[in-house]
Structures are given as C-alpha cells and as structure tokens.
Symmetry: D2
Subunit: 408 residues, 4 copies
C-alpha cells in the first residue's frame, strides 16, 4: 500500500489541527500511523507529529495528502511546479487553489510567501532578473503565458494558531445564539477596534440598508465622524437610503421621527438618486451644498474611502456605484489590504463578498437579526469570524455609546 510521511508542527493539539488531519485521512479512506509525537508540555511549547499516511492507490494517497496539506501537514517536498496560463483569464488545468491561510511556495529551493493571500485564487510566479515573487490572483486577473503553480508540490500552508485567549470572543466560539449577554460582545468589539488602531491595522465596515431603515444611520455617521472606520463597503441601497434620509428625512419612505409612511415617501429614494445623478456624484453633491449630512457625507468629509458595489436589484443607481461586479470586486480587493478588523452589519451579499477577499487572520464580526444569515456567513470558511444575532439598530447604538470620542 503506497505511503508517505508528513509532518505537523505548532499548537496542533489545542488548535484541533491534529484531530482534523487524522479525521480527513480516515474520512477519505486512508490509514495513519503516528511515528513520532512530541507534545508541547505547556501552553507555550510547540508540538510535533510525524504521520505515515497510506491509502489503497497512489491516486487516493495523493488526494489525501493534498487535503491535509491545506491544514498544515507538510510533505518533504521539492519545488512547486508551474504551467503557463493558456489564455487570458484562464488558469492551466490542475492549478493550485489557495486557501485564506498564510501560504508559501518553494522555488529553486527557497520558500516564497504568497501575497496577498486570498481564498479560491491561483498563485502566479512573477520573476525578473532581480526578484521573484509569488502572487495570489483571482482567475480573471491571469494573463496568457503567466506562470501558474499547479498541483500541490512545494506548497506549504500555515495553520492558524489557536490564538484566542480566554475572554468574550473565546466564549462566542461557534455560537451565534441570541440568548447571550450581547453588551459584553460589544465591549469586546470595542477592544478589538482599539487593538487594531494600536497595531496600525485598518477597520473595515460593511453595511446594509437596514441600518437606515431602523434609524441607526446617525449612529454610524457619528462613528465615522469620530474616525473609527477606515474603509466602507456597501451597495447602492445603503447610500441611497442614507441620502434619502439626509434630503427628505425618510428611509424607504418611512419617516424616521414618526415611524409612519410619509406621503409619497416611497418615491423619495428615487428622487434622492435622481438628485445625485444630476449633481454628477456624491462628492459633487457635498461640494454643491446639496448633501449636508449622513453616512456618505461623513465619508466624503472625513476622507473615508468607500466602494459602492452594484447589484441587479438597484434602482438608479447612484453615479458612484461600480456597476460591474468584477471591477467592484477588484476595488474592494485593493482596500482590504491592511485590514485588521472587519465589521459586517445587516448585509448578506456584501458580507459574503468581503469574507471571500479577507485572509483568515482578520478578525471578522458578523451582525444580523437573522440567525440563518449569520450561520451562512460563518460556514464559508472565514476562520476568525464571530456571529452576533441581533438588531443592527441596537448594536450600533451600543457600539457608538462605548467607542471613545463618538459624539451622540
């Protein structure tokens, strides 16, 4: 029976990495024999395991090895293999598919980091006389002739450390229950945002229009104005209803001070869009004094870059909306560099899209009133994601109250 020995290093017991690797071997019909095992005696010590993996056929063995490699099992390996892309936007067959974990490829005996890491991409080798680099690219970026890594030889993935210290995020773990004290979670999010500030990592906010419909727009505006957000991702709807509220005092036609449907209110969001289209852009509307408050106004005034990504359910859309989804995705890709904390509030589409672009090491918090949405976001392999099933209205109110310097 074909066999090969792999090595696992790190906090492999408490991170569950060892369990997961053994589980995959058995699940896929293989067998294992642990030939060496040195457990870290204390929390700080690293463990090491050597595992001999065997399977019925070489193909089956190869499949298992490639699977467990994605969880950090390293093979004694040669260099990565590459092939040329056969056409623009097309990878060679058998291209290596990235995870969102820290990854390196071995070329000429040296390990190169793959940067910026993003899941479901390919690895393109860019070499000049002076330098060689392993770049992570989505499929549509690749150009005919690019050297792309194929197979999994010479690829190494580092598992996430079991990083969480005891505390609120620790206890949240896999749970998304509404039946927990959520104020504590908000306090922990504030700490995470403050920690990101200290480490010079950016804070990304991804939001949906329910923020406006529930009347929480002013809270988000105040958080932006206080400088707590570095990047905003949203769609036409959030921006439109924000501008509707700034211009007409309604959101989807519902008066924010009365809760009642305003006369003609349902038209207000179209008139808001038309007004901005006439001005040419949100920035122009601010400059012309047409738009004087709200979330988008705060972005312009406080120089917070944003991506408004289009979707087929958009009215208008606003001129600032990037209607081509591939271009919008690339714009988001640029702005996620350096993000340390991502808050995703009341939007499935934009949250999932953003989650796809983030490395596993970014601390991600998903807030939605629908448990299904939160579960869906958490299921997508975003490793450091925490879900909070609650109201965006009360969440943002509580967050604004706890963040230092937010004017209420």
């Amino acid at each position: 029976m074909p066999a090969e020995t792999v090595h696992l290093d790190g906090h492999i017991v408490d991170s569950l990495t060892l369990s997961k690797v053994l589980d995959i071997i058995l699940r896929d019909g293989g067998h294992y024999r642990i030939t060496e095992f040195k457990i870290g005696a204390t929390r700080a010590d690293l463990s090491h395991a050597a595992i001999s993996v065997s399977a019925g056929t070489s193909e089956a063995l190869e499949q298992i090895l490639r699977q467990i490699q994605q969880h950090g099992a390293s093979r004694v390996t040669g260099d990565a293999k590459t092939e040329h892309a056969p056409a623009d936007g097309v990878f060679p067959d058998g291209f290596y598919v990235t995870t969102n974990l820290e990854t390196s490829v071995r070329l000429s005996g040296k390990w190169l980091p793959v940067e910026p890491i993003e899941m479901d991409c390919g690895v393109v080798i860019k070499a000049s006389d002076l330098a060689i680099a392993a770049e992570c690219h989505p499929m549509h970026h690749v150009c005919k002739g690019d050297r792309v890594v194929v197979g999994s030889d010479g690829v190494r993935v580092s598992p996430l450390d079991h990083a969480e210290s005891p505390g609120v995020f620790g206890f949240m773990g896999s749970s998304v229950s509404t039946e927990r004290p959520k104020e504590l979670v908000v306090a922990a999010i504030v700490e995470a945002m403050q920690a990101a500030r200290k480490e010079n990592r950016k804070i990304l906010f991804v939001g949906g229009p329910a923020i406006l419909h529930t009347g929480a727009g002013p809270q988000l505006e105040a958080i932006l104005a206080a400088g707590w957000i570095d990047v905003l991702f949203a769609g036409n709807a959030l921006a439109t209803h924000d501008i509707e509220q700034a211009l007409f005092g309604t959101s989807l036609g519902v008066g924010m001070d009365t809760g009642a449907q305003a006369a003609h209110g349902h038209e207000n969001h179209l008139r808001a869009i038309n007004t901005i289209r006439r001005a040419g852009s949100i920035r122009n509307a601010v400059d012309l004094g047409i738009l004087t408050s709200g979330i988008m106004h705060a972005c312009i005034v406080h120089k917070v870059p944003y991506v408004l990504a289009g979707s087929i359910r958009d009215d208008g859309p606003l001129p600032d909306v990037i209607t081509d989804s591939v271009i919008a995705q690339d714009a988001m890709r640029e702005l996620v560099r350096g993000v340390g904390v991502a808050l995703m509030v009341a939007t499935t589409l934009h949250s999932v899209a953003t989650g796809n672009l983030l490395p596993a090491s970014v601390r991600t918090i998903c807030v939605d009133s629908d448990a299904d949405t939160v579960v869906k976001l958490m299921d997508r392999g975003t490793h450091q994601a925490y879900g909070l099933v609650t109201d965006c209205e009360f969440f943002l109110k509580e967050l604004a109250a706890r963040l230092p310097g937010v004017r209420q």
Copy 2:
C-alpha cells in the same frame, strides 16, 4: 335557494368587516345581494348594510350564517338555545364556541353579556331567582347538568372598532419586520402603558429565560420595582435563572459580568432550585434573607402576583411552580381580569397560552428575536397584537430607559 338577511353595523368599511363577511360568503360557496347600504359619510359616522345571503342548501346557508355571525353579522333572532352538559368537563354536542370578541346571548328576549370573554370556551347560563348571567367557561370547568348555549341562535358578536388612530401602532400593523425603527415602537409601548395606568387597567408581563441569559434581568427587576408591572407570568426557567443569578451571578452557568462559562456553572441552576426547595418557597427564601435581589425578589417585595407554570422540560422544579397545567391555566385566568396591556417577551409557550386567555381588546405586544415565533403568535387570532422582532436584552434596556421612575 334558501336565503336569509343579516345586518352589519359599525365602522364596517374601514375595519374591513364588510369585506371579510362578503369574502366568507363567497369562500363557502354562498351568494350575496346587498339590499341596503348606508355608508358613514365621515370617519365618525357609522355604516349599515343589509345583506341577503343565499346558498344551495339550508345546511350550507346555516354554516355561512354562523361563520359571518362571528364577525358581527347579526340575524333576526330569537333566544339562544341551551342544553345540559352530559357529564363533568363535557359540553353538549353542538355547543357554541366563543371567540375573544365582545359577545352577548339573548335569553327571554334580553341580551346578556358573556363574561369574562375568552376564546374557545362555551357559554354557561347561571340563573337564580334573582338574576341570570351568561358565563364563559373552558371545557374542564363545566359540570354535569349545567345549561350550555348550543348553536348560534341568539348569539351576537361585536366586531372590534378600527380603533387605531394614526401613529406607531398603526404603522406596525401586520408587519413584524426587523427593518423598522424600533425605538419609536418602544416609545409607543411606554405610552400604552401610561394610558393603561390612567384607565386603571393592569399591565401584564409574560417572560422567558432569555431575559436572564442575555443579562437583562436587572432591567426587568428595575421596571418591576418602579411599579410598572401588575402581574407576572413565567415558567420555572425564568425564575430559576433569576435566582441562579441572584445567588451565583450566572445564568445557565454563564457569568453575566464576563460572558464566560463559570467553573461548574451549569450546575448552578440546580443548586439554586435545591436551595429554594429547602427553604420551602421563594417567599420563605426572601424572608430568610437567602434571596436578596432579582426579578422574583422584586415580585415578593413589591407584592406583584405571579404564576409560574410548569412544563415537562423543567428541572426541579421550584416549589412555587404550579405543575398541573390545568390548575396553572386557571390561576392565569384569574389574574388576566382587568389587564389592559400585555407585554410578552422571549417566550413562545407562555405567550401563546396567555394570548388564548385574553379578550381581543387587550393591547398585546410580542417581542422575540425569532420572526417565526412572532408570526406564530400573531397568527393565532389575537386581534390587537403587535409583533416586534428584536432582542429582549436591548428591548428591556430601552424600555427601562424610557419608563418614568425606573432606576438604572
């Protein structure tokens, strides 16, 4: 084709009563001819309609007439018919089944109000030499030989007025969306509670254990202490986790100040129950100085009557729990008399049970984080019910902040 003329009076257009009656006639295969119609010219004026209803057979006609009668269509009628109950806890065949709308029965040519009205009950006629009364009783109350109304002759139901003035409750209508400004709804609830106070009607609070798990116990305790609640309905779980928190600072073992699972925490609720069982009752535990804070403590100290109704998922239970569901229901039945506002927070079982006991005229507000639960509660024919899909934690915090005199 057999036909009969019925009359509809009141705000029958804007309350949708007329539409509903015509709808039922057609749905059940009948035909109608509107023979008289006088519409109220302004909002204050009443309307009147005379409708000739016909159907293929007398039986079909009778069925239609009985249906629409429950929405206020009155027949030219003689006295109600009665039969004797054949056994204890058994109604005669064909007993009239009550709705939760104001109802009268005609006896000896006089209309008697059925009191206290409750849906899914029977009407028992209690007559002495001096007086005659029409009482509403659940099935298990009836005694062999009681005179019970059968059929629908001589029964009159008054439709609810289209009572809502424009305002927040008006806009909530059928909607239970999370995507609304909920602070406005909380403000409206505060107004409704203040109005009930002025009218000397009681305020009933029905709650589930998530109030404790989310850390909102102190908010409810403060609302009770400020005198805003006249009756509390709950189960073993709310009381147990409240006492657990008072004794150990945890709820289901989760520390309310840390969010973390306390060591041995999952045992704390059992130790809390055991402590109270040893004391003999919650009141004894308060008197002995064992229980010194929390919701149940506030009920004892502020003399707020409560029913703790048992269920098969209970641990213990606490000695104050009424384990027999029929006895518990009767205890609740007593205490709902005079209730004007019912707040139902984070419990399906107790909310539905309470809803079953309330007249349609009680303003009922259901708060739950799960839209399904709220929809289920609203679907059960409770007429003046408003659903709010949100967190009980944030809801109670906001309510406590807005109710005058609540110490925070």
Copy 3:
C-alpha cells in the same frame, strides 16, 4: 379648507381598495365625506364611490390626492404635464414615479397606456408624426431632452381586481407559514403553470444555488427538458455548481450521491469555471461535448433563454455571466415581457430584482426555506406574490412529480 372630489370604481369593497383609500386620507391628516356610494349588489357588480377629500392646506391635499391616485382614485383631470430630461440618465424634478399597476396617461384628451409597466420608473412620451406612445423607462434609460411626465395630473392607475377565486392561492393569502399542507400548494402551482400555457404566457424560473447543493438539480433539469420553463434567471453560482455537478458530481465539493465532502471538492467549482472559460462559453462547452448534462445544458439544448447576472461574491465568473448589473437588469427587462407565472426558488437577490421588474398582474410564487426571506419578498409591493416556506429540494421533487410529461 381646500377640497376635491375623486372617484373610485370597480370591486372596491372586496379588493379593500375603498378601505385603503380612506385609511390613507386619515393617515395623512385629511378628512373625507362620501358623497355618492353605489355598492355592487352581487359579486359581479361593480361599485362606485365619490369621495370629497379635504385637508388643511392645498399642498397637504395635493399630497393625499397623489397618494390615493396610486390606488385608483381618479381625479377629474386635464392632460398630463411633461418636462424635458435635463441630462442623460436624469429625470426632471418632480417626475411621476410609476407603480406596477396598469397605468394610463392623458395626452391631448386621450388616455394612452403606459407600457411595459414597471414600478419605480418614469413615463417618457415618444411622439412622431404618426403616433404617440407613453413608455415606461428606468432612470438610466432616459436621454437628455426626452419628454417625461411630471406631477400626477392626467395619470390614472387601475387597481388590481380582487381576482382570486376561492382555492388554494386564496387561502395562502398573506400567510407564509410552514404549518400548512404544502402539497396542495404545489398542485395549485401546477394548475397556474398549465393556465399560463393555455394563455400563451411565459413561465419564468428564478433560482439560487441551493437547488444544486440540496441535490435538486436533476429535478429542475427534467422540468426544463419537459418544456415547462421559458426563461431562466440566475447568477454565476447556480450555473457554476450545476456545471460542477455535471463535470465532477459534486456541489460546493459535496458529493451528491454520498453527502460527503469529496477530496479536493471545494476546488471543483473553480475548476468548472476554468473549464468553461477555456471553452469560451457554456454553449461552446456543450458544442464541444464537454458539458453533457445539467440545468445549463438543458437550457442550451432546449433553447431556453437565460440571464446569468453577476454579483460581487462571484468566483470567476463564467463567461456567460453579465457582470454589469445595469446591463444584466436590462437583459432581464427584455425577457420578462409576456411572463404570466414567475417561480422564484431559493434566492433573495435574484427574486427581489425580478420582482422589481414584473407587473403586479404576474402570478409570483416565492419558495425559500427561510421565512424571513419570504416575508422580505412579499413586503416589496409585489401584488400577486405567494410565499412558501419550504425546502427547495422537496419542492422541486414534488413539482417535477406533478407536472405532466416530466421524466424522473
């Protein structure tokens, strides 16, 4: 106090139109006096009401009149007013915003139908020497100088008849409960599809990727192959996972015959996309014999037109995906002409987008396992929409079993 008389005609009692109009008048602070009222004596007869509406100011009155006009209240009116569009993609201020109900505008004393009606658009008057037409256009279609209707003078909206005969769709009404016999609903959908066939109206299917993940792809393929679907709207995900399943037997890497995660399965959807990108298009892949089964294959073979609309969460995407949301929306706009029945299964984004484009008269059925999604779809003003909270897997299986001629 300024006053004006409007007229309401049709099945205004049982369609609730009269109630709604009176409700709006009061809600917005107006008063009414019903000056004439002739109720239809039987179901077939039309009713007529003349209502004198008054309000505190002319502006307030005008606002009320414009609101109720959208529900069919007609004013004695002159011609519609128009203004020229100030720029490409910008309507003149005060442009009339369409509903999804049948609408006409009055020009030179003649009523012209607005076609094709779509909500949240403007009305552009296209006149030549020979003809004049009122066209409904979304904002981005309008060109500088186009004549656009402004205000609401000379605009008439026809309320939907209370069309539902008694039956399953009648009973579904506002309810989306899972606690109903759903097989009956499936039977009613089959009838509706057969009725659309007889009337030569198209059947539109809008679907999400959960159809594939749950293993229901073959059912949808069979329904397509039997000719029951005329147009398909979906996104990159549905097509990708369909092709993944055709090429690799997995969906998101889960083996459809085992339920287990296939080795490397999570990469399969990327390899599927890459394969089609290499072929150039789905059609090419079919022609080259690469793609030989599945939903997209059935569309190609059976000549069912489709729109695959892009979104920012897409991998790849497939070359057939229209990545620009405005262009995709326009492609959908073309294909919804003549649709009589729309089935929307397991997708919020595409369902809402499609609902925005459909006239109110199209019978729309939304199927989703999440009640929140269904409620959201139903709340968006799509008038003849019915929601079904259930599994797409079992729904499609049941539908395939009941549709004549579907091979299983």
Copy 4:
C-alpha cells in the same frame, strides 16, 4: 502552587477530549504540564496522557479538576462521599450533578455504574445486605435520609468515543444547513432505525402538531402501523388535531384535501376534544368505534405506548393527557429506557424535554423547519444529536417512502 496529576485514556485525540481538557484548564486560569503522552499509532489504538494541573489556590485547582473530570479526566481517587438528603425532594448541599455520559462512582473501593444515567440529576446510593447500587434520580425523587453523592471524589465519567464512522451522519456534524442534500440524510436515518431494530433497541418518536397541519398525519400513521415506532411522546395538540382530522377531515379547521378553512373549522378541534372527553379516553373512543383512523388510533391498535404531556396552552385537554408536568416527565423517564434512536419532529418543547432525559449515547435526530429551533436543541448538550432544517411534511413523506414495509 497546588498541583495534581490526572489521567486521560481512550481516543482522546480524535474525540477532541484532550483539546477540550487543556482548553478548560487554561480557560479557568490554570496551567498544565503534560508529563506522559502515548499516542495511539493507528485508529484502533488508545492513547494515554498524564497531565499535571496547577492553579493559584487549592479551591481554583479543585474547581478545574471537577470540570475536567466531567470530560473523563480521572483523578487518583478514594471513595465517593455521601450525605443524607435533608428533606423529601431536596438534595444535600454540594450534591454531585450528573452529565448524560456513562458514569461510575467508587464505593468501598469498587466502581458502581450509575443507572439509568440522565443529566442534571443526583446519585443516590441504595444499599441492602445483599447489594449496593448507584441510582440516578431527579431532584423531586429523593427522599429524606437518602444517601446522596456529594463533591466529585470517587466519580468517574467516560467520554463518548469518537464513534462516527465516515458517512452521512459524519458529514452532518455540527451543520444544520438547509443547503444540503436531505434525501441522503433520510436514507441514513432509515439505516439507523434498522440498526436499532437489530440491536433490540427502541425507536422513540417525538412529534408536534405541525405534522397534522401540513397533512403529514397519514405518513406518520403508516409508519406506526408498519411497526417502526416503539414509543410516542407528544402533547395535547398533536393528539387533538389528529383526532380532529380523523373525525372531521380538518386540522385547526383547514381542510386537508382542499387547503381551505372549513366552515366552522376552527371549532372542530374543540368538538374533537369534547367527543373524546365524553367517551372517557382515546382507547374507549377506539373501542366504541368512534375513532377509526389516525395516529392515536394506530397507537392503540398497534399497542404503541405513548405519553401525552400537558401544557398551559392546551384546550380541553384530552382525558389521556397527563396534566401534571412532573408526573408526565416521570412517565417519559420510564419509557426512554432502552431507546436507541430518537426522532424529534416539529416540536421544541417536547424535544428539549426528551433530550434532557436521554443518555448521550442515544442517536437523536431533530427535524424542524426553523433553524433557530434546531440550533437550540443541538446546543443543549445532547451529544449525539443531528439537526435537519426542513419541512416535517416532506421529511415524513420521504421517510415513509424509504422505510421497508410502510404502506402508502
């Protein structure tokens, strides 16, 4: 710093037991040093670890040791300590609280199994001249003077093996997504039921009234008639709507063959209850020929024992309902002995109550259309529970189709 060495044996890596134990030590502020470690080289081999645990104080250490003991960490130990119960229904302070895992206590140097194991109970030692036994009892069972285990000395808990072989239940794991192929899960449930049959273990069905409302009653009746269910747990509602359907063809008044509200339908369930109350019991109604079909009829005819447990939302109730929740719980406690598979369909209350009574080794499958309910059930520490978010109607239809011998 106080320290003590504990031992862990078994499949402690792949069952995650080791990880969990180390996690608890750190979480509660302790430190560990792994002093011995022998990993099982292959899947079949057991592992062993000796862990020296230390903490700041003896109390803190003791707390940690008691926590990890519940996950199988065994201390070098003397006999269990016992105290006498101070009153009927009251445990001594510090009573040991059971988990639902296999447990033994050490008395006079011998290990006695605690039977029947149930979580959240106490351990009562019953000794006679001839024998000594450790019995698991809920709080209300204990009698004054009973010897009850206190503290955790001399108590040993066996962790569940990582029993799942690869397969459908393996893949379901923590997932409750609707986006999975559910037919495969139904097939796996059928296998589990067949396996239970072979091992002479009972199959328990716990059901809610939505089974009737959705029209799935006949499916469950057929499964019962084919002998696939050994015990039925339900409430008044399931039995009432079942009998309503048998007597009147409706469920909550909705005609199962039409989907429409029957005339007077909402009264039918009350008339059904009244009929059975008059007959005296369900069995009498069957014997008298009044009840001739349905689920309850099948239970009587096929001698399937059932518990109908009362709740405060019940109408009536039926005479067979056990209205006292403590007595009902005890009746359920009797019948869960010997259960190998528990199916819980469309009921939160009865599912949670039953889950509380079952040992961790019983394979439990929860089916509900609401993901929140399933998550709630899974979160309650029932170890071998699998959640399926789907329709009970389609689930039972599919189950009936796949179970051998079910007549459809």
